[in-house]
C-alpha cells in the first residue's frame, strides 16, 4: 500500500505541472467537442494530432491524446440525450432513456447524471489501473476465439432484453442487424457479400452511418410528421437542471454496477467496450423493480451505461500499458505516439519509465475531474439549445449529421446511405420497432461469425472446443440460463403480453 501511494505521488507530481495540466485540459476540451459532433470520432482526431506530439515531452503528448479519448465519451452522451444522436457505439443505449428524459423535460438531470456517473466510473477505473493492471491484463490474454464467441452469444441473447416492446419484434431487429453486418468482404474467403457491385460497400457498412441514419435522421423525420406543437423537443417544461433526491437514489447503485461491468469488459479487446454499455443497460432493466419504466426515461438507463462506457474506456488502457497490445484503434495510435519517442510499450514500461506510467494514470483522474467541471456548467447552455424552435434545430442537426457522415471516409456515398437508413429509421418508429437491438446485432454479428469460424478452424472442425475450454463453457452456460429466463414467462403463460416484461 505504501508503495502504491509512493507511485501515485510520483504520478501526481508529473501530472500536476502547469504544462501537463494544460495538455490534459486541451485534450478534454477537444474530446468533448468531437464527442458532441456526430460522426467525428476520437480515432480521426488523434491521428491528425499525432504529428504535433512529436515535439512534446512523451508524457505530455500521451496525456493530451488520452484526454481526447475519454473526453469523447463524455461528449458523446450529450448529443445522444439532447437530439437522439449516438456518435459512438457506446452511446447508443444512452439514447433510449436519455432522450426520453429530455422529452420529459429532464434533459438537465440526464446530462448531469451522465457526467457524474462517468466521473465516478472514471475515478474507480483509474484506481483499478493503478492497483490491478497486471493481473487484469492476464484476463484479456486468456480470451481466444472460442471465448469471444461465447461472450458475444451471451451479449446477443441479452439484446432481446433491450427492447421494451414485443420480443418477436426485438428478435426480428437483431436478425436484421446481423444481416446488415454481413455486408462487405468476408474476412475468411475474401468473397464479396451483399455488395451489389458497389466498390464502396466492400468494406461493409460503417457503424456511424447506420446509427446516425436510424437514430438521428429517423427521429427527425418522425418529429416532423407529428406536426404542430409537439414538434418541439420540449414536450414538457424544463423543471430543475439537477437530478432530484429520488433520482439520485436510483442512479447511484446503477452507476456502481455499471462501473464494475464496464471496468471488467473494457480490458477485453474488440467487442468488450461495446458490450459494456449494452450489458449495463440490460443489467439495470433486469434488477429494476419496475422494468416497464425503461424506454420511457428511466434514470438508471442513463447512469448504468454511461458509467460502464467510461470505466471501459479507462481500463482499455490496461492491455496497452502492460502488454503493449492495442485493444482498439485509439490504443494502437497511443502505441504509435510512444514509439515515436523511442518508448516500446510493454511490461517493462511500468518499471523502466515509472514517471510516464504513473504520470499518465494520475492525469486520467485529473482529466476526468476537469471533464466534470467543464460539463456541469455547460448543462444549462445545452438545455437552452432545446428552446431553439425545432424548424431551425432540425436543420442544424441534419447538417452536422451530413458533415459527420461525410468525414468518416470522405465519401458522398456514405451520406446517401445514411439518408436511406434515416427512412428505414422512420419506418421503425411507425412500426414500433426498437433500433437498439438491431445495432447490437450489427456490431456483434460480424465479430461472432469471425470468432466462430476461427474457433472451428483452430479445432479442425471439432465443436468440443467450446466445451473443453472452461471460460467458453462458463459463458455458454450463462447464455443458456439467460435464454431460459427470457423465454420462461412466455412458456408459463403463452401470452404475448408476458414477453413485454422481458
Amino acid at each position: 500500500m505504501e508503495h502504491f501511494l509512493a507511485n501515485l505521488g510520483t504520478g501526481f507530481a508529473v501530472a500536476l505541472t502547469p504544462a501537463n495540466l494544460g495538455f490534459a485540459l486541451t485534450g478534454a476540451l477537444i474530446g468533448t467537442l468531437i464527442g458532441v459532433l456526430p460522426g467525428i470520432g476520437p480515432i480521426a482526431t488523434i491521428a491528425m494530432l499525432l504529428p504535433l506530439t512529436f515535439h512534446l515531452e512523451p508524457v505530455s503528448g500521451l496525456i493530451m491524446l488520452a484526454g481526447i479519448f475519454y473526453g469523447a465519451q463524455y461528449g458523446g452522451s450529450t448529443s445522444a440525450i439532447l437530439v437522439n444522436l449516438p456518435g459512438e457505439t457506446s452511446s447508443v443505449v444512452t439514447c433510449i432513456d436519455g432522450h426520453q428524459m429530455a422529452r420529459n423535460g429532464r434533459a438537465g438531470a440526464a446530462l448531469a447524471t451522465a457526467a457524474l456517473a462517468s466521473f465516478f466510473a472514471g475515478t474507480v477505473a483509474t484506481a483499478m489501473i493503478a492497483m490491478l493492471a497486471p493481473p487484469l491484463a492476464l484476463v484479456g490474454q486468456s480470451f481466444g476465439a472460442p471465448e469471444y464467441f461465447a461472450l458475444m452469444l451471451l451479449g446477443l441473447i441479452a439484446a432481446v432484453v433491450l427492447a421494451h416492446g414485443s420480443v418477436v419484434k426485438a428478435i426480428a431487429m437483431i436478425v436484421l442487424g446481423l444481416l446488415l453486418g454481413l455486408v462487405g468482404t468476408d474476412g475468411q474467403t475474401a468473397a464479396q457479400r451483399f455488395t451489389f457491385d458497389f466498390v464502396k460497400l466492400s468494406d461493409g457498412i460503417e457503424f456511424s452511418v447506420l446509427a446516425i441514419g436510424v437514430f438521428g435522421v429517423g427521429e427527425i423525420i418522425a418529429n416532423l410528421t407529428r406536426g404542430g406543437q409537439s414538434r418541439s423537443l420540449l414536450a414538457k417544461r424544463i423543471t430543475r437542471l439537477m437530478p432530484t433526491r429520488d433520482e439520485i437514489s436510483l442512479a447511484w447503485p446503477a452507476a456502481l454496477r455499471g462501473t464494475a461491468l464496464g471496468a471488467l469488459l473494457g480490458v477485453l479487446p474488440g467487442g468488450g467496450a461495446t458490450l459494456s454499455s449494452f450489458g449495463a443497460y440490460v443489467m439495470e432493466k433486469k434488477v429494476a423493480r419496475d422494468p416497464s419504466r425503461f424506454g420511457k426515461g428511466a434514470i438508471e438507463g442513463v447512469a448504468g451505461p454511461e458509467a460502464a462506457n467510461n470505466a471501459g474506456a479507462q481500463t482499455s488502457f490496461i492491455p496497452m500499458l502492460t502488454l503493449g497490445l492495442p485493444g482498439n484503434a485509439v490504443m494502437a495510435l497511443m502505441i504509435g505516439a510512444m514509439m515515436i519517442h523511442g518508448i516500446q510499450p510493454g511490461p517493462q514500461v511500468m518499471t523502466e519509465r515509472p514517471t510516464l506510467f504513473w504520470g499518465m494514470v494520475a492525469s486520467m483522474w485529473i482529466g476526468n475531474l476537469m471533464l466534470l467541471v467543464i460539463n456541469l456548467p455547460l448543462i444549462g447552455i445545452w438545455v437552452q439549445l432545446l428552446k431553439v424552435p425545432y424548424r431551425f434545430l432540425y436543420l442544424a442537426v441534419l447538417l452536422f449529421c451530413a458533415i459527420g457522415v461525410y468525414t468518416i471516409s470522405n465519401s458522398t456515398f456514405a451520406v446517401i446511405l445514411a439518408a436511406m437508413f434515416g427512412v428505414l429509421g422512420y419506418i421503425f418508429v411507425r412500426l414500433d420497432c426498437e433500433p437498439a437491438p438491431m445495432i447490437l446485432g450489427f456490431v456483434l454479428g460480424p465479430l461472432m461469425e469471425d470468432n466462430l469460424r476461427r474457433a472451428m478452424r483452430i479445432s479442425g472442425g471439432d465443436p468440443m472446443i467450446f466445451v473443453n475450454r472452461p471460460i467458453a463453457l462458463g459463458l455458454l452456460i450463462a447464455a443458456a440460463i439467460l435464454l431460459v429466463i427470457v423465454a420462461l414467462p412466455s412458456i408459463r403463460s403463452g401470452r404475448e403480453r408476458a414477453f413485454q416484461e422481458g
Binding site: I43, A47, P51, F143, V199, P269, G324, M339, R457
Partner: protein, 332 residues
C-alpha cells in the same frame, strides 16, 4: 457611373495580370496551391501515419499544404480510382502500400476501372517495414526454421498460422513458404484485428507461427511470448544479430518487406514528378521526418530516381504475379 467603370477596368487589369503571372508560375514553380494526398486506409494506420509525417515535411520544404485525405475501401481500389480520376497535374497524389498498390492490381485487375500499369506511376518508395517469421512459445518447442518444417511434416493439418485476412500478404507469404518447403499441410487462421489479434492468438497458443512486422512484435519478444526464427530483410537486424535472414535459411524469395510508396497519375508532367520526387526524398532524409519514422521501426528507403522507382514497382508487380500464380487463393 463613370467611377464604377474605372473600378471595373482597374480590377480586370489586375485580375488579368494575376492570371498571367500565376500561369507562368505554374510552368516553373510547383506547387502554387495545396496538394492532396489520398490514403487508402482510415486515419491511424501505419500508411496514414507515414503519409502525415512525410506530408508535414513536404509542406515545410515546398511552402504549400499537403492535405491527407483518407479514402478507405476495397483493398485500395477506392483510393486508386480517386487519384486516377483527378487531373494529372501533380496536385492529387496517393501513398499506398504493398497490398493496395502491388497485390490489388495483380489479383483483382477487373475490379479496378483503370489500367494500373498504364495510368499510375510511382514517385518514390518511402519506407520499408522488415518482418519476422515468429513462432509461439506457449506449448510449442520449435526454435528454428528447419524445426518448423519438420514439425509441419510430422503433424499435417496441425500447424496453424496467423494472417490478417484471406488473400492478404501474410496469407500469401506463408502459403508460398509451405509450398516451397515441400507442400506442407498448414492451416491459415485469419484475424481481422491485424497484428495485435494474431499476437493474442499466438499468446493463447491457438496459432503457432506467423509473419509479423518487427515493430509490432518487439514487446512480446522481450517478454518471451514470441520467438523470431528468421527475418525478412536483406541483412540481419542490428537489434537481433542472432536471427538469420530468410535467404540464409534457404527461402530468399519468401516473405514480404512491406513498404509505403508515393504514386501519381501517369500523365503528370515530368518536371512536376521530378519536383515531387526530390521533395519526398528530402522529407525522408531530413531531421524531424527521419527521426519520427525510424523511431517507429520503419526503414527509410527512398528510390534513387523516378526511373529507379518505376523499375522497382515493375519488379514488385512481377514478384506478386509469380507468387499469386504459384499459390492459388480464391478471392471472388
Amino acid at each position: 457611373m463613370k467611377r464604377t467603370g474605372w473600378i471595373i477596368a482597374a480590377l480586370s487589369c489586375f485580375a488579368l495580370g494575376a492570371a498571367a503571372s500565376s500561369g507562368s508560375w505554374a510552368q516553373d514553380k510547383f506547387p502554387v496551391k495545396p496538394v492532396k494526398i489520398v490514403v487508402p486506409y482510415g486515419p491511424g494506420g501505419a500508411t496514414d501515419i507515414v503519409t502525415r509525417i512525410v506530408a508535414e515535411q513536404m509542406r515545410q520544404s515546398l511552402g504549400q499544404s499537403f492535405v491527407v485525405e483518407n479514402k478507405p475501401g476495397a483493398f485500395g481500389i477506392v483510393a486508386i480510382q480517386e487519384m486516377t480520376n483527378a487531373r494529372p497535374d501533380g496536385y492529387t497524389l496517393m501513398v499506398g502500400n504493398v497490398s493496395t498498390n502491388a497485390i490489388t492490381p495483380v489479383i483483382v485487375p477487373k475490379r479496378l476501372k483503370v489500367n494500373y500499369a498504364r495510368d499510375v506511376v510511382p514517385v518514390t518508395n518511402l519506407i520499408d517495414i522488415p518482418a519476422f517469421l515468429v513462432v509461439a512459445t506457449n506449448n510449442f518447442a520449435v526454435k528454428d526454421v528447419p524445426g518448423l518444417i519438420a514439425y509441419a511434416k510430422k503433424n499435417p493439418g496441425k500447424l496453424r498460422y496467423g494472417t490478417v485476412g484471406a488473400a492478404s500478404y501474410p496469407h500469401y507469404d506463408m502459403a508460398f513458404f509451405a509450398k516451397r518447403a515441400g507442400n506442407l499441410d498448414v492451416v491459415p487462421i485469419h484475424n481481422k484485428q491485424g497484428a495485435s489479434g494474431i499476437i493474442n492468438d499466438m499468446v493463447t497458443g491457438d496459432v503457432q507461427v506467423a509473419f509479423l512486422n518487427v515493430a509490432s512484435t518487439a514487446a512480446q519478444i522481450r517478454a518471451g511470448k514470441l520467438r523470431p526464427i528468421a527475418v525478412v530483410s536483406p541483412t540481419r537486424l542490428p537489434d537481433h544479430p542472432d536471427v538469420p535472414t530468410m535467404k540464409e535459411v534457404g527461402f530468399g524469395d519468401v516473405g514480404t518487406i512491406a513498404w509505403n510508396a508515393m504514386f501519381a497519375p501517369a500523365a503528370t508532367p515530368r518536371p512536376v514528378l521530378e519536383a515531387l520526387h526530390r521533395a519526398a526524398v528530402a522529407a525522408l532524409e531530413t531531421g524531424a521526418g527521419k527521426t519520427a519514422l525510424t523511431k517507429q521501426g520503419f526503414i527509410i528507403a527512398p528510390s534513387k530516381s523516378l526511373d529507379d522507382a518505376r523499375t522497382w514497382l515493375a519488379n514488385e508487380i512481377k514478384a506478386w504475379k509469380t507468387i499469386t500464380s504459384a499459390v492459388k487463393i480464391e478471392t471472388e
